[in-house]
């Protein structure tokens, strides 16, 4: 028996998709949410009032004072300057390259620790998107491998889909169960196919120097910083000389830098702040354009003299930066960003419907006992697809309900996110399958609908002053809740609603596919309930 090319591709698509689907679903959802990372962070720190102008130079000096006291021997300080939509100074510092980054938020006007509640905000979802909350290198490798398999699944999926143009607009939700899921999978996959291909490919490119470092290692004899300098991505950073020193005031450098570049100044990095050869680098927002290239100016830490700027980049670097830019879509205005978000959700929907399709296509016949693998896949589907929204809603609710002063608050929020997710995944193993879907999605829906209410009750007046700051976020939560309620009502349906169907000529694929589930729904009730 000769296996055709299409069949082998179908096999590849089915199994490669199943293996990485659960991880990729979470990656797509958190990635889509990351398009609104700043808005999520703003919502999760309701104490911060946006809008009033802030002196960036003074904020930088206050940050340096704080860091001098807190981390004088650090290898580097990374100061995120306050912006109009983010009125807080965000500090990161590291003592060596192995231990985790240290982090603090300061009030930009006083230099004291910020009054905002302790939370990772949208940054948690952003980092989860490519690190899965694991040690960074592990997480990136896993997400990267999944992205590579995603590319395989996309290409083999295109080959497998035999009627890509004829079925382009087709979603037959009233035909058989399997046909409905197949159409949903095809429509969400094909309509946003340019996005899916782009996002998988650019996602891999973003971390390519990590996955295939050997070119850089060989060409630069292991000196990777040299590569970034020569590629025009980073100005020259000096090595420490081992003599103690102190850095100049940052405010004049901030003013000098701001006078030279028209983009907003985002970060000030200080390398080897306690050394005589400290380097201060000012990093700007990227100019409007596809490429994700931040202009930078470097200064001598001891004298404040200018050391260099990032030069013009050559085409290869520009193309690679454009890939990163396309992935992150910083260039996109609100409307286009909403479309990117929608495409991300369509990717998640394509993965979820693919996972469900796998199990629907393998439903045991009436009276047959489902195998262990089958039951495990189905339970994992519920856990991954319905558990994640429950976790996300729990994360947002925890942000509002945990006492503001409680110790380790940011970690607690994250633990609640994973706890809620894991609880749903476990419950899915214990509950009857269709009920598990309905209950988990229903719970997620209720939790999302509760978010605006809980937020209004706990933040009180804060939420309503100004121009109704969180109206957009609240609307998004309500929309998500309603969408999940719709999903909950649709889930748990064993067969499509009855409707007078036009006669389908015999032998059409639709009818063949329709055979199994219809036979199943005619089975006696107890057999159905077990499935």
């Amino acid at each position: 028996m000769r296996q055709g090319f299409r069949q082998s591709m179908a096999w590849l698509h089915t199994w490669s998709g199943l293996v990485v689907g659960w991880v990729l679903f979470a990656v797509f959802v958190t990635g889509a949410a990351s398009y609104y990372r700043a808005e999520i962070s703003e919502w999760m720190r309701p104490e911060l009032q946006t809008g009033a102008p802030i002196d960036a130079g003074r904020a930088a000096d206050l940050a340096a004072d704080y860091l001098r006291a807190k981390a004088p021997a650090a290898q580097g300080w990374f100061i995120g300057l306050p912006q109009p939509d983010k009125p807080v100074t965000e500090l990161y510092w590291w003592n060596d390259l192995v231990s985790p980054l240290q982090h603090a938020l300061l009030d930009p006007r006083t230099g004291a620790p910020s009054p905002a509640r302790d939370t990772q905000g949208g940054d948690f979802l952003y980092r989860f998107h490519f690190e899965l909350n694991m040690p960074p290198l592990w997480g990136r490798w896993i997400v990267g491998l999944c992205a590579m398999v995603l590319l395989v699944a996309l290409v083999s999926g295109i080959v497998t889909h035999r009627r890509i143009f004829a079925d382009f607009f087709t979603f037959r939700r009233r035909k058989s169960l399997q046909r409905g899921w197949l159409d949903a999978h095809n429509v969400t996959g094909v309509l946003a196919l340019p996005f899916h291909l782009m996002i998988a490919y650019t996602g891999i490119v973003t971390l390519a120097p990590m996955y295939v470092p050997w070119g850089i290692t060989a060409a630069f004899k292991g000196d990777e910083t040299r590569f970034f300098v020569e590629a025009g991505l980073s100005p020259e950073v000096r090595l420490p000389v081992g003599k103690p020193g102190s850095i100049v005031s940052l405010a004049p450098l901030v003013a000098t830098a701001q006078a030279r570049v028209s983009e907003p100044l985002e970060h000030v990095a200080v390398y080897n702040p306690g050394d005589a050869a400290a380097t201060i680098v000012t990093i700007f927002e990227e100019p409007k354009g596809l490429a994700h290239l931040h202009p930078q100016i470097a200064f001598d830490g001891a004298t404040g003299a200018e050391l260099g700027t990032t030069g013009l980049v050559r085409p290869a670097t520009r193309i690679s930066a454009a890939f990163v830019g396309l992935h992150e879509a910083h260039f996109a205005g609100p409307a286009l960003r909403a479309l990117f978000f929608l495409c991300g959700l369509m990717g998640a929907a394509a993965i979820a419907s693919g996972l469900i399709l796998w199990s629907v296509a393998r439903l045991p016949k009436a009276g047959e006992r489902p195998g262990l693998g089958f039951r495990l896949v189905r339970a994992l589907n519920v856990g991954a697809v319905a558990g994640l929204p429950v976790g996300l809603a729990a994360y947002f609710l925890a942000n509002r309900l945990l006492p503001v002063g409680v110790a380790g608050r940011a970690d607690l929020e994250v633990r609640i996110f994973f706890g809620a997710w894991a609880a749903i995944a476990l419950a899915a193993l214990l509950r009857p399958h269709l009920r598990a879907w309905r209950e988990a999605l229903g719970l997620a829906s209720l939790l999302f609908l509760a978010i605006p209410v809980v937020s209004a009750l706990t933040t009180g007046a804060q939420a309503f002053d100004g121009a109704a700051r969180f109206l957009g976020f609240d609307a998004a939560m309500l929309a998500t809740g309603l969408l999940l309620a719709f999903a909950a009502s649709e889930a748990g349906r064993t067969r499509p609603p009855r409707r007078a169907e036009p006669a389908v000529p015999a032998g059409r694929p639709a009818q063949r596919a329709a055979g199994t589930p219809q036979a199943r729904s005619a089975a006696p009730a107890p057999a159905r309930r077990r499935a």
Binding site: F169, L191, G333, L336, F340, P502
Partner: protein, 115 residues
């Protein structure tokens, strides 16, 4: 101005994709309960591709080769999702919606050109 250009893109893409969908037997039957006559199917197909190409032309002319194609593809994706949703839930609305999109595109055009 990006949002208004995006709206223009979206309207043109939507009208074009709706025409393409209606040129297919299955969806024509969904909307009109009959198969399209040959000439009509061809006309719809030509109109559909014209709408899609016009949308590309508009996005490239107004946003440049840098952002134009990105925005065009985004608009196409969003518009095609709307076509599928209408076909699945309210097939009868597809034609009036597509016909309404054309004057909307005409209204958006001067604003897009001025912006």
């Amino acid at each position: 101005m990006t949002p208004i250009v995006l709206a223009l893109n979206f309207a043109l893409s939507f009208a074009g994709l709706a025409a393409l969908a209606l040129s297919l037997d299955r969806h024509h039957r969904d909307a009109f309960l009959s198969r399209p006559p040959k000439a009509r199917a061809r006309g719809l197909r030509v109109a559909g591709w014209a709408g899609i190409l016009l949308s590309l032309a508009a996005s490239v002319a107004l946003e440049g080769w840098n952002f134009g194609p990105v925005q065009w593809i985004g608009a196409l994706t969003g518009a095609s999702l709307l076509v599928v949703a209408l076909l699945s839930y309210r097939p009868g609305w597809l034609r009036p919606a597509a016909l309404a999109a054309l004057p909307l595109a005409l209204i958006a055009l001067p604003f897009a050109l001025r912006g």
